[in-house]
Symmetry: C2
Subunit: 185 residues, 2 copies
Amino acid sequence: MTNEAKTNQEETTQQDTQEEVVEEVFAEEVEEDTTTEGSTNELTAKLEESENKYLRLRADFDNYRRRVQLDEEANKKFRAQSLVTDLLTSLDNFERALQVETENEQTQSLLQGMEMVYRGIQDALKREGVEEIDAQGAAFDPHLHQAVMQESTPDAEPNTVTAVFQKGYKLHDRVIRPAMVKVNE
Amino acid sequence: MTNEAKTNQEETTQQDTQEEVVEEVFAEEVEEDTTTEGSTNELTAKLEESENKYLRLRADFDNYRRRVQLDEEANKKFRAQSLVTDLLTSLDNFERALQVETENEQTQSLLQGMEMVYRGIQDALKREGVEEIDAQGAAFDPHLHQAVMQESTPDAEPNTVTAVFQKGYKLHDRVIRPAMVKVNE
């Protein structure tokens, strides 16, 4: 008797179809005649409700599966984001340390070893999808660059980056740190 | 009529319940008597089949959701594994480069800067769940250590690690590289 109100309308149209079936069977089984059209209609309505419930659940399931798949793809693409972000400060310090100018042979040899290490780290990051943001000389783009200084010089095109104070990085198409730059007005 | 064979057995037990309902309704609606017990039984069987189909789908959906949740937890825990594994060679080279002994002030200053960078990278890895495997002096464990040499010395306990040629690393509870060691027989 539940859902009856909801299915009353469906019942009316169902009834026609049901009556056809009923008349066919009637001829053979008339002697066992202990049911009524009312209970048949009720059962038909319940069956329809049950089938609808199944179809709604199947649609929910399909949507859920699709969403899980999209989530998995995004998660895989950006899985290293927290570690990468965490490593950027070390990369900055690494680059700064490599700026030493020296005539001393031992220092030069240490620098060479450290440059190899630096490139190894950069290569590992590139393989994960990390990319440096082009900044020096580029047209200023507020999505990629953070302007921390402005200047007005006729030597450079207006609205271009004239200096980079800190490198910016993207992971795939996502900016994980904008470049800190000086912009020509 | 589909699934009829499958539900024939269920129909038999359903029939009893159905007959009770039918008898109640019969009294009021006897004048519209155009249905048969046969079609009612058939509908009841179909309804039961439909409800079972729904319950099976719901169980599948629940299992799928549980599995997705477990997958997500594991993926989150080990999300950085490929980048970490890729960085281990650079870490090895970094450590080797830091072994320089020097009296030169400029080299010392560069070394200090590089040690800071190294610690920064180590800290970032630790925050992601990366841990060095204890090896030197530990009891040999084939899950954590890879024996590349054996020796027989009375100075050390038998079956302990007497030298580490390459550090091993774990990510959470997962060994991502065993330590390469020398073992006392």
